[in-house]
């Protein structure tokens, strides 16, 4: 048992390190290291695109994709080593996460060869930003209940006309392309009448409106489709096969290894070391220590669970299901920890002005953002269902709408008679 690189891994790490040393935008480093939770530290889209292009030219933008699609043709463990070494510069790639992590793999699995060679290199290089148009106001965890319609034109072109609304689309306002799941046949049961497309976000009839989030930011959008025309060649998978296609995307969403979700523990520990109370630093207090120890054990457990997954990759194996716990643990922990940090600040914990609040208002920002972490990309409850069903082998929920034609399913405001 060891944490050592194999000879090949060590050689690759050395190569990556020196490449980063020579190529990274070092003038942004201090800014990026200060970048707080869900922020890019004041860097610009141009900064992000420049770094992505540099990485692309060297084969590091999508390290494990095949070279013909703009990847680096590297192994999964090399991808992990790359991301360990990229350090603070990874913040710059946030703009491309959805495209590289979810849209790209879906296109790779379902588009034609010609489309793949056309679209994927531009996605990888950062020339095109992609978004994922899945959630709707009335279908969140129950994604298959979506209602955005795609109907064939009657003009013989085979084109599709899209009408409906998507929501929670990260980065739609900055995106060039999107993958879009629609309902093509409401007379079939809900999972069976869906079809996936990709489209240009500049298409006529696409309107992006930012959502003002509960924390005041606007990182997500609503996207409205009004008679948007999509050629049939932009269909991914067969007509009414969209659910299967979407699973490619969702599996990739939950398969991020080695990146490690932030938990906020190092920041809280640091804060407690420095916060002065009548009895010295807060970390001297037994109640504080007990609380900190619980967080420490969780943060450490996540770190070493990641190490186990990386070890599996290093041996050429597929990591086990234990990696599915990451977001579930980190999301809830971050929220709890933020509340505790404010509690330790006393009445002044209410302040959110970085110039006035403790620790530059870091924990206040965390408090206000953390509810989203427990919802986005699968709610805590969906993740628990996944662990219970796929890892522990428990039965799926009884689904009363499973075999009912979609149009007959009761919905909010339209209860079953």
């Amino acid at each position: 048992m060891n944490f050592d690189d194999t000879a090949e891994e060590a050689a690759f790490r050395t190569k990556v390190r020196s490449w980063i040393d020579e190529n990274a935008p070092k003038h942004l480093e201090a800014q990026l290291r200060r970048a707080g939770f869900a922020s890019s530290g004041g860097t610009t889209i141009e900064d992000s695109k420049a770094w992505q292009k540099k990485k692309y030219d060297a084969g590091y933008a999508c390290p494990s994709w095949p070279k013909e699609y703009g990847g680096g043709g590297l192994s999964p463990i090399e991808r992990v080593i790359w991301s360990q070494e990229e350090g603070p510069y990874a913040v710059l790639s946030g703009l491309f996460t959805i495209g590289v992590g979810m849209c790209g793999p879906t296109v790779m699995a379902w588009a034609s060869e010609e489309q793949k060679r056309d679209l994927l290199p531009k996605l990888a290089s950062g020339e095109h930003v992609w978004c994922q148009l899945f959630s709707e106001p009335a279908s969140g965890s129950d994604l298959a209940g979506l209602r955005t319609r795609a109907e064939r034109t009657t003009d013989g072109s085979g084109d599709w006309i899209i009408n409906g609304q998507k929501i929670w689309t990260s980065g739609a306002h900055r995106s060039d392309y999107g993958i879009l799941i629609t309902r093509t046949d409401p007379t079939l049961p809900k999972h069976k009448g869906l079809t996936m497309f990709f489209l240009s976000m500049k298409s006529p009839g696409v309107e992006v409106r930012p959502i003002k989030q509960a924390n005041g930011d606007s990182a997500f959008n609503e996207v409205y489709f009004t008679d948007v025309r999509i050629p049939d060649s932009q269909r991914l998978g067969a007509v009414n096969q969209g659910w299967e296609v979407s699973l490619t995307t969702l599996m990739n969403e939950r398969l991020s290894i080695g990146s490690g979700m932030p938990t906020g523990f190092p920041e809280l520990f640091d804060f407690c070391m420095n916060l002065q109370t009548e009895d010295g630093p807060a970390v001297n207090d037994r109640a504080v220590r007990s609380r900190l120890a619980g967080y420490a054990a969780k943060a450490s457990g996540l770190k070493y669970t990641g190490m186990r997954a990386i070890s599996a990759l290093s041996k050429g194996e597929t990591p086990g299901p234990e990696n599915s716990i990451g977001k579930l643990v980190a999301g809830a922990m971050m929220q709890d920890l933020a509340m505790y940090a404010l509690d330790l600040q006393g009445e002044a914990g209410v302040l959110a002005d970085p110039a006035q609040a403790a620790a530059g208002a870091r924990f206040q920002a965390m408090l206000l953002r953390s509810p989203a972490t427990r919802v986005e990309g699968g709610t805590d409850e969906v993740l628990r269902n996944i662990i219970a069903e796929r890892v522990l082998g428990l039965p799926g929920d009884i689904r009363v709408d499973k075999d009912v034609p979609f149009k007959d399913i009761p919905t909010s405001g339209r209860a079953k008679a």
């Binding site: 463990i77 970390v283 120890a293 457990g301 070493y304 190490m307 990386i310 716990i325 219970a388 082998g393």
Partner: protein, 372 residues
């Protein structure tokens, strides 16, 4: 990176699992629970014969000379099977103390017998209710004779030898005491987990030999307990996994309201949370195993982390296993309470969870200050 056990170590784990499935089914645990003995002597001899007890003891002292990673995988299986044997007292603590600080004659005298299971060791630190600290040690040694009262001492009524913390000239040192010699009185005390016995030991001028340097007792005891904490974390992880499996199996089998109870989210989510805790604990135990096997500078941090995490996981899995079983889980006939008892007893052995939480934060602080 290879943060995993080797194929040979996994084979050893399978071998230990098969052995324990055969020699230590739940009925064997129950026989100790309901009988008059506090351990399963035949199982203990078998573990010695198989070389499991001596896995980390060098061959020159009668062990198998494998290493601590091997002992970790065995400990996990001991935990899964709830084996009613004094392995923590005898191997994780007494043998470790001797290997760490024992003189050559002490090692020659006791390690071979501990490795074979012929002799049983105990570790006697605490002297009553409350957190065990250096200041709480009151037993004294004078002229090579120990006097004082130690309680509770795990496996104290069956042990042949004990490592005892006591003051000599005011300073705390560790001493080796032959419990079959003069000046030793033992009293068995009932506990929340009768499958691992607890005793009160009273010493009145019992002959005692010092282990390690004068006044080094508390530091040495802490070091021994760190090592034991990692091994015990594996026991706890094994127990947590088994309790989770029991809960899962029952949720699949038990029907209510016309369906498997495992199809209700209230049950599924409880089991998912048990899986999460058990997974975090396993990963932290791996970290401990790495530190133990390499004698890493991080060992104190890793030990405290593994201990806190494993205690939490086993307690959660054992109590929720009863919850999943509903009323049946509270019957004497179902095995759920065996896990509940053991999880709560192990949570206190080596010092309570809050003690280890304190240690963890101290050590993280020291590590950060050293790094700064």
């Amino acid at each position: 990176m290879n943060f995993d056990f080797s194929p040979e170590q996994k084979q050893l784990r399978d071998q230990a699992r098969r052995f324990l499935a055969d020699k230590c089914p739940p009925a064997a645990v129950r026989a100790v629970l309901e009988g008059s003995h506090t351990h399963d002597a035949a199982l203990w001899r078998g573990l010695g014969e198989m070389g499991f007890l001596g896995a980390a003891i060098p061959e020159e002292y009668g062990g198998v000379g494998l290493g601590h990673l091997e002992l970790c995988v065995i400990a996990e299986e001991i935990g899964r099977a709830l084996a009613p044997v004094p392995i923590a007292s005898s191997i994780y603590l007494t043998a470790e103390a001797l290997m760490l600080a024992g003189g050559e004659a002490q090692k020659q005298a006791w390690l071979p017998k501990l490795a074979s299971g012929e002799a049983i060791g105990a570790f006697a630190l605490g002297e009553g209710v409350g957190r065990v600290t250096e200041a709480s040690i009151r037993a004294t040694v004078s002229g090579g004779k120990l006097s004082g009262r130690k309680a509770p001492v795990a496996d104290g009524e069956i042990a042949d030898v004990a490592v005892v913390a006591a003051r000599e000239g005011g300073k705390v040192s560790l001493f080796l005491v032959d419990l079959n010699g003069p000046g030793v009185t033992r009293e068995t005390v009932t506990s929340i987990d009768p499958t691992r016995g607890q005793a009160v030991l009273v010493f009145a001028d019992a002959p005692a030999e010092r282990i390690g340097a004068v006044g080094d007792g508390w530091r040495l005891a802490s070091e021994v307990m760190d090592r034991a904490a990692i091994l015990m974390a594996f026991e706890q992880v094994g127990g947590a996994d088994r309790a989770l499996e029991m809960g899962r199996d029952y949720a699949l089998e038990r029907m209510a309201f016309g369906r498997q109870i495992g199809s209700f989210q209230a049950i599924k989510h409880m089991l998912a949370d048990m899986y999460v805790a058990a997974t975090l604990a396993r990963s932290n135990a791996f970290y401990g195993a790495w530190a133990l096997s390499t004698n890493a500078a991080e060992l104190p941090v890793a030990a405290a982390t593994a201990r806190v995490s494993a205690t939490e996981a086993f307690q959660l899995c054992a109590k929720n296993n009863i919850q999943v079983h509903g009323g049946m889980g509270f019957t004497w006939a179902f095995d759920c309470h065996l896990f509940y008892r053991r999880s709560n007893a192990l949570a206190l052995a080596l010092g309570s969870k809050s003690t280890w939480e304190d240690l963890l934060i101290d050590r993280l602080r020291q590590r950060n200050e050293a790094a700064a």
